[in-house]
């Protein structure tokens, strides 16, 4: 047998497909990946320490910067955590508004995540740009309702910052008229393509047991065949009122993750439709007026609230010592925890597969490094 030599390659932190300042220390034998060591921390911004210095309200805009694709969901999760800590009631209309925003951002996240994944695979950004097109439309709506496209800073303790109006609803309806076409186009583009199948099927397999032992969550876990969705497992907001399916994969490869995300976009669409039907009249108010937003001093205690972010379980852990800022503040970032499984998912595949597997995890470095 021919003697070969292993080659160590440093992929990142400046590399076109590491999704930010992420670095992979890769050992390859020819093109086959022998070892992979993820290195991160280049984007550390002291988020958790800042959260302990800032007041509860002041920390809200910082949560936007965690997973900058889904600031709406980050806000929701953080607000939920503080509400749990301080025992704040949330009006029903606000709950519905939060659900609408969450599902819109789930669609935009999956649209871009899948686009980037296909970009990593070498499909020349076509799917990505179609996704970005839909994302822009959704961001326009976010901008209308919250004032900013990406850093929405929309949730408040006990509700949301501004109520949605008829214009928002009609525009979202219009958007939703177009969404199924986008889903169909996107699905038809590559789902059955032979090259896509060759690149995605049985690549980056994460077995069910391994996924559970890494405590991987979100679409990555569901693609491995575990039907775990916090919206169903521990219904928050008003998620127990909607009919929606939980798509799961059977193999746990890149292709399953791709399919699960497409199916989740369709389910998000279903939830949106129901949410608009059930949305209570404006009389209910969009925010609990009794809450003192700026000088909130929750009673001594701790709270952990989690939501199903498009990337997995996003949780905020807060400990209050009765003062105006948190004593301890911890973020359970889904990207970070899902990323730990990368090395096991990549070993034994080719170098080119590592990029696709990384793309299929759907990481955002803002959330990984915090």
């Amino acid at each position: 047998m021919l003697k070969t030599e292993e080659l160590r390659i440093n992929i990142g932190p400046q590399h076109p497909s590491t999704h930010g300042v992420f670095r992979m220390l890769v050992t390859v034998d020819g093109e086959t990946l022998v070892d992979l060591k993820p290195v991160f921390g280049y984007l550390h911004r002291n988020h958790e320490q800042l959260g302990e210095v800032n007041s509860y309200l002041q920390n809200m805009p910082f949560t936007d910067r965690l997973d900058y694709f889904n600031s709406m969901i980050n806000n929701h999760a953080y607000a939920r955590s503080v509400e749990m800590l301080a025992g704040i009631e949330v009006p029903e209309r606000a709950q519905y508004i939060r659900v609408i925003m969450d599902e819109l951002s789930r669609i935009l996240n999956h649209a871009t995540a899948l686009g980037f994944m296909l970009g990593d695979m070498g499909a020349w950004q076509t799917a990505l740009l179609w996704g970005l097109r839909e994302r822009e439309k959704i961001l326009d709506l976010f901008e209308y309702v919250s004032g900013a496209r990406m850093m929405c800073n929309y949730a408040r303790f006990g509700g949301v910052a501004r109520d949605i109006d008829d214009y928002f609803i009609t525009e979202t309806r219009k958007l939703m008229d177009g969404l199924p076409h986008y889903f169909d186009d996107f699905e038809g583009l590559l789902t059955n393509s032979e090259i896509m199948l060759a690149r995605a099927r049985n690549i980056g397999v994460l077995p069910k047991e391994l996924a559970l032992s890494y405590s991987v969550t979100g679409p990555v876990l569901r693609a491995s065949g575990v039907p775990y969705d916090i919206r169903r497992a521990e219904p928050y907001a008003v998620y127990d009122r909607f009919d929606f399916d939980i798509p799961v994969g059977t193999v746990g490869d890149v292709y399953d993750r791709f399919l699960v995300r497409i199916a989740e976009m369709r389910q998000a669409y279903r939830i949106l439709e129901q949410a608009f039907q059930q949305l209570p009249e404006a009389g209910g108010g969009h925010i609990n007026p009794k809450v003192k937003q700026q000088s909130l001093k929750p009673p001594i205690g701790e709270a952990y609230a989690r939501v199903e972010s498009p990337k997995g379980e996003l949780g905020f852990y807060l400990v209050s010592d009765g003062t105006g800022n948190a004593y301890r503040y911890k973020v359970r970032a889904p990207s970070f925890i899902n990323l730990t499984a990368l090395a096991d998912m990549c070993k034994g595949y080719k170098l080119a597969d590592a990029m696709v597997i990384l793309g299929s995890i759907d990481i955002v470095m803002g959330e990984v490094d915090r």
């Binding site: 047998m1 080659l7 390659i9 590399h15 076109p16 497909s17 034998d29 093109e31 086959t32 022998v34 296909l118 970009g119 990593d120 695979m121 070498g122 499909a123 020349w124 950004q125 076509t126 740009l129 179609w130 097109r133 583009l189 590559l190 393509s193 090259i195 896509m196 199948l197 060759a198 690149r199 099927r201 049985n202 690549i203 397999v205 070993k347 034994g348 595949y349 080719k350 170098l351 080119a352 597969d353 990029m355």
Partner: protein
């Protein structure tokens, strides 16, 4: 052209040859560069429309001067060489690439105009195309960069593998026309009112498809753009190049694509042949043939762009598998069926039995449609059968799991 210089200007033979050659070379170089510029713009606009965008539309009318702006930009950029690089090899790599590309333009028939009519034109194209490999390897090795080295190695493996199906895909045409000269091949397709293109025969069609796919790999187009896979190995062998050297690589790349489109159009799509070219004749006919030629080439390039916009790239091992397990068997079968085609159509004295069954072989004026029909049926059957069989085999293989386990790795299997 040599005669023109001799007769009109009274130049001695050696001077006439030098002048004529110089003029031709200049025209080809300028034409190739302009063609590359046009192609980059064309590709970007087309791909933009596919992605619901508009593409470059700022510099010049509809952005058509964008490539010039970019050329100026790349020329003014700093030209760096890595400290540890092999400076000579690093410098020569783009030169070799470009030289190899420009040489292929020597045998391209521009409509009815031929820069040079080599008797082994097809062979020349393939042989010179092989020089690319050298440039890639030089760039990959000379850069002293791991990404570049990987890209260079990938490039070499890819080029060497795909040259074989590429050459073999042309053999049916050589068998049918009985010549390797590009001029002769183009002329042979002028029948049927300018529509006697090779692609309209079953053998020719299969050969066209196979040649085009193999050429995509030769031109590093998606789904075979593995040597420069930007999402994996940054820019492949071009990683350490900046400024004009980088631009030269791009120039070579796009000129190769242009050459591939031209060659494919000439061999399979009748080159400049089309309805009305022979009837008009003379200068007008030549002009019309040139237009036909460009339309065909641009159509082929559009298909390249469409493929690029749609599909992901293959992985290295899949790329090799595709060349050796899929293209090569089909190409070989196609050679067999083209031999049968030639036999059924042409054999008269050599095989009396064909004449007994199907009548005498037809001429250009009175084709024997019985023979033609039988040949079409037989070749389609053989080729389709082979296609189904090879696809079935490949499908079965792809169903099996391709994952190497840790244990296998540890054992060095």
């Amino acid at each position: 052209m040599v005669e023109t210089f001799q007769q009109t200007f009274g130049a001695p033979l050696w001077l006439a040859v030098v002048l004529a050659s110089g003029l031709k070379v200049t025209l080809i170089l300028v034409g190739g560069s302009l063609g590359m510029m046009f192609l980059t713009w064309y590709e970007r606009r087309a791909i933009a429309y596919m992605q619901d965008r508009r593409g470059p539309n700022r510099v010049g009318p509809q952005g058509s001067l964008q490539p010039i702006a970019e050329a100026i930009k790349t020329m003014t950029k700093e030209d760096t060489t890595p400290l540890e690089a092999d400076r000579v090899v690093h410098f020569l790599a783009p030169v070799v690439m470009l030289a190899a590309t420009v040489l292929t333009f020597a045998i391209i028939p521009w409509g009815n105009l031929f820069p040079s009519d080599l008797s082994v034109g097809v062979l020349f194209f393939v042989a010179i195309g092989g020089l690319h490999t050298l440039g890639m390897l030089m760039a990959g090795w000379g850069s002293n960069n791991k990404f570049a080295l990987l890209g260079g190695m990938r490039g070499v493996a890819q080029m060497v593998s795909y040259e074989i199906p590429q050459v073999m895909a042309v053999i049916p045409i050589v068998l049918m026309t009985g010549t390797m000269s590009m001029q002769r091949i183009v002329e042979s397709q002028s029948g049927f009112g300018g529509l006697g293109w090779n692609v309209f025969t079953p053998v020719g069609f299969f050969a066209f498809a196979l040649f085009f796919v193999a050429s995509l790999a030769e031109g590093e187009r998606t789904p075979f753009d593995i040597p420069e896979a930007d999402s994996e190995i940054v820019a492949g062998y071009m990683t350490e190049y900046t400024g004009m050297k980088f631009a030269v690589f791009y120039l070579a790349n796009y000129m190769t694509n242009l050459a591939i489109c031209f060659i494919t159009a000439s061999i399979f799509l009748g080159g400049g042949n089309g309805p009305g070219v022979n009837e008009l004749g003379g200068f007008l006919g030549g002009f019309l043939s040139l237009i036909y030629f460009f339309i065909k080439a641009l159509f082929l390039f559009f298909i390249m762009v469409l493929i690029r916009a749609t599909v992901p790239r293959l992985r290295v091992d899949q790329l090799m598998g595709f060349a050796w397990k899929f293209l090569l068997p089909l190409v070989l079968v196609n050679i067999l069926s083209s031999a049968l085609w030639v036999a059924i159509i042409r054999w008269d004295q050599q095989a009396q039995i064909f004449t007994q069954w199907f009548g005498a072989p037809g001429t250009a004026d009175a084709p024997n449609f019985v023979r033609l029909g039988v040949a079409v049926a037989v070749t389609i059957m053989i080729n389709l059968g082979a296609l189904v069989m090879v696809m079935g085999l490949n499908n079965r293989a792809s169903q099996a799991r391709m994952h190497t386990t840790d244990e296998e790795l540890a054992l060095g299997l």
